[in-house]
Symmetry: C2
Subunit: 117 residues, 2 copies
DNA sequence: ATGGTAGTCCGACGGACGTCGGACTACAGT
DNA sequence: ACTGTAGTCCGACGTCCGTCGGACTACCAT
């Protein structure tokens, strides 16, 4: 049986271009935005992405292999978390500015999780 | 004859994902990094990219169409400049963090413009 | 053991992307 | 007018990417 352990790139191997590429997709950007907003580890199923399960798995893997998120098995599901410490150290300010920008643009395209009081 | 004027997207139409995608390529990242370092408008020929002329044109266009740079004809050449004001307003901190990160990583992959004495 | 739930793996497919050479246009200088 | 320089446009080619369905595995609960 497999060790049920996911491969994560060490911090030194995280490449800026790969991170930018990983963030340059609506679904993946939404995942990152969500994780940043949650501020905690959440299972894949907590974020629904309007794509199939296979595609969802694919996007999470791209993020993990780029060094943007961590994934650990937890019972029947898998917890995803931002690699905030690593990213902030390698690319100071990048994650925050991207997440802020994503929040801003999301408002443009129509409110989805931000209920207008 | 053509008006010799390049099309630029208005600031309101600049999309975060397109900007990130535009930045997620070594050649284009180098262009942006160079422009940021220069702090001025420079002709295409000032930055050499280890790709063909056609490809160079292509990369500049991607950057322009994503709203990252401006291009204006100036005699026989073309001046390229960062749309810093627009980008800073739309995505505060993004450009700076990307450029800083690019500077940092460039040092990792080997000194190119930092001559070792 | 059985069933359900969460996610993975494996082709496959169409479209986008980076790259190129080569012919072309626009401008400046002589 | 001629030449050189700077950049553009146009296929073309191979590769990567996002997407999917469907079969599969791992785990928990009953």
């Amino acid at each position: 049986m497999t060790a049920r352990v996911l491969e994560h790139p060490p911090a030194e191997e995280i490449r800026l271009e790969e991170v930018l590429h990983a963030l340059a997709d609506p679904a993946r950007l939404e995942i990152v935005r969500f994780l940043a907003a949650a501020g905690a580890e959440v299972p894949c199923s907590a974020i629904d992405l309007a794509v199939s399960k296979s595609t969802t798995t694919h996007h999470y893997r791209v993020l993990r292999e780029a060094g943007v998120i961590t994934q650990v098995y937890r019972g029947t599901s898998k917890l995803n978390g931002l690699r905030r410490a690593d990213l902030d150290r390698l690319f100071p300010g990048l994650l925050d500015s991207v997440v802020n920008a994503a929040e801003g643009q999301r408002a443009d395209t129509g409110p989805a999780t931000a209920p207008t009081p």
